[in-house]
């Protein structure tokens, strides 16, 4: 293992899940168990590979062609951070799906699409040029459209149609931006675009392209004026898919690309930063208040995702090193605890058959693992001191104060109080109150589901220690530094 060159590992992040998803379609039609085994093996290998890549940077030239002619894949610390998040959450979700997806037919299709989505996200994170980024983004998006509609019930089809229309609209905006950038700079390589823009500065067509990118990727990451599809699509999907969508998809193809383009390629000015800040503030506040009024447990978590994404974009919009660290830390935290919470919601739905908070209650007794892990997830997202969410929100608030944006800091604190309120509502109505008559005699959660939830809960707890220990230096801080100093993009 130790003598594998990271350079040769880079394309495997895309090739392995892609090949595996095809293999599953070929061999697992008749024996669905094979699909589960192959998917878990693939995700385990991907997770080990992303752990192995920590601290290694590199550029892979596809087919050996040098940079201006060929296609690059670039691995830097920010990419590694995202790869870790995608593949760790992906592994937990693959484990969880084993029991959860038993209810559905054609599980081999589910795993195939799931691995395609992972392919797309890994590809977006590693892509070194704008057009490949667009292609991988579409791969992830198309897989997620069909995964949202996987159950083929009324709500799922409706949500998926809404998602696919808005998704293709945003993809068209992004492609227009790609066309403009190519027309102006004459190159698609991110590093070359960056150096061209650094020489000539931003002119009006480039600003238009940047605006199109901000609109397009705000759609993908569901910032507030562009969020209409998320509260339908995320709750309607099967729970493992919701966990993937809310946990990593909106970050890998939304926030990550926004950060990459804004900081590394176009270079930010005060105007653009303030736009990001206001987008963040709006999503944070609107998402938070809409979440508080929800009765459907998954819909509540979906609105909460909008609100938490707002925190990250606010952190990015501050433009300071501290703000970036906060944003990236919150991104990692949110990926773990939001996918955990969606898996919890799935376990509740699996056991009781309902997602309506009014019909639930007292589940701590019948679903002990779900209760305990959801408490960890809730406390993390609400920002209760020893848990990870507290530290990341604290860093973002401190960065607001450091940058002199006191209003934004106060808003962030208030929204985290709202977050605490709705998470306590979920805990009280679903897990703590007395058990309704209808829910007596529930069976406990199946072992693989419990295992996945425990894994993610342990991850949440482990992330709480990142601020204290020496882990943050090689991992979090260097990722933030590379965003600012452009890392291998120079």
């Amino acid at each position: 293992m130790m003598n594998i060159d990271v350079q040769t590992l880079i394309p495997m992040f895309v090739a392995l899940p892609l090949g595996m998803s095809l293999l599953i379609q070929l061999v697992a039609r008749r024996r669905q168990v094979l699909a589960e085994v192959l998917a878990i093996i693939a995700m385990l290998a991907l997770m080990l590979m992303s752990c192995y890549a920590i601290g290694n940077n590199g550029i892979y030239h596809l087919g050996g062609w040098p940079t201006p002619v060929g296609i690059d894949m670039r691995l830097d610390d920010l990419a590694i951070l995202l790869l870790l998040v995608v593949n760790v959450v992906g592994l937990a979700v693959a484990l969880y799906s084993v029991d959860y997806m038993r209810r559905f037919t054609a599980r081999s299709h589910f795993y195939g699409l799931f691995l395609l989505m992972v392919t797309g996200m890994n590809g977006v994170v590693l892509a070194g040029d704008l057009f490949n980024l667009y292609v991988f983004l579409e791969v992830a998006a198309i897989a997620s459209y069909s995964l949202v509609a996987f159950g083929c019930a009324h709500e799922e089809l409706e949500a998926s149609f809404k998602y696919i229309v808005l998704g293709s609209l945003s993809s068209a905006l992004i492609l227009t931006g790609v066309a403009l950038v190519y027309g102006i700079t004459g190159t698609l390589n991110l590093a070359h675009i960056a150096s061209r823009i650094a020489q000539t500065g931003m002119d009006a067509p480039l600003l238009l392209a940047f605006g199109l990118f901000i609109c397009g990727f705000s759609f993908k990451s569901a910032l507030v004026p562009f969020h209409a599809w998320l509260p339908d699509a995320h709750p309607s999907a099967p729970a493992p898919v919701s966990a993937m969508l809310s946990g990593v998809l909106i970050k890998a193809i939304g926030i990550y690309v926004l950060a990459r383009l804004a900081f590394n390629v176009f270079g930010v000015t005060e105007n653009e930063l303030s736009m990001l800040r206001w987008l963040g503030l709006l999503s944070m506040v609107v998402g938070g208040f809409l979440a508080a009024g929800q009765k459907d447990i998954k819909r509540l978590f979906a609105y909460s995702s909008i609100s938490q994404v707002g925190f990250m974009v606010l952190g990015l919009g501050l433009g300071s090193p501290l703000g970036l660290v906060g944003a990236l830390y919150h991104l990692v935290n949110h990926a773990l605890f939001k996918s955990l919470l969606f898996l919890n919601a799935g376990a509740v739905e699996y056991a009781t058959g309902t997602r309506n908070l009014n019909k639930l209650g007292g589940l701590n007794r019948s679903l002990p693992v779900t209760g305990a892990t959801s408490l960890i997830g809730s406390m993390s997202i609400a920002g209760i001191p020893p848990f990870s969410g507290f530290w990341s929100k604290l860093i973002i608030v401190l960065a607001c104060i450091e940058g002199g944006f006191y209003g934004f800091g106060v808003a962030a604190v208030l929204v985290s109080i709202v977050t605490l309120a709705y998470q306590l509502k979920v805990q009280r109505m679903a897990f703590f109150a007395s058990l309704p008559e209808a829910l007596h005699g529930l069976r406990r959660e199946p072992p693989m589901m419990a295992l996945a939830m425990i894994l993610l809960a342990l991850g949440c707890i482990a992330l709480s220690f990142v601020v204290i220990t020496g882990l943050r230096d090689p991992w979090l801080i260097s990722a933030a530094q590379q965003v600012l100093t452009m890392g291998v993009f120079k």
Binding site: E138, F161, S171, A172, T176
Partner: protein, 115 residues
């Protein structure tokens, strides 16, 4: 001038997506919008009176490069059309499934999700 026609095509598509009530009309509008973008991409690589970007043996590369149209956008558009085909197939399949469930193509009647 000709770029603004692309913009017009994109805007017609956008208008169609916003105002149509039929799922299939929305799909067609999206298609129009997508093709507007494809045309824009193609035009960016176009050169008035340019030669096809195929190198003959024995031609001088620098001369060829100053006379040929840019082949890269054509490759991009091909890729993008294939992606568009995938999305289109999925969208039409969704429309058919929606019709099976709801018995209508009218988006104002397909609304169980709210809140």
């Amino acid at each position: 001038m000709i770029y603004s026609l692309c913009l017009l095509l994109i805007l017609i598509g956008l208008y169609g997506v916003v105002v149509s009530r039929q799922t299939l009309k929305i799909v067609v509008s999206l298609l129009i919008m997508n093709h507007g973008v494809h045309l824009l991409l193609l035009l960016i690589g176009y050169r008035q009176g340019g030669s096809p970007p195929i190198v003959d043996p024995g031609s001088v590369i620098s001369e060829f490069a100053s006379g040929a149209v840019d082949p890269l956008p054509q490759a991009l558009v091909l890729t993008s059309i294939v992606i568009g085909l995938g999305v289109l197939a999925l969208m039409v399949a969704l429309c058919v499934r929606l019709y099976e469930r709801y018995g209508t193509f009218d988006v104002t009647e397909i609304r169980r999700l709210r809140g």
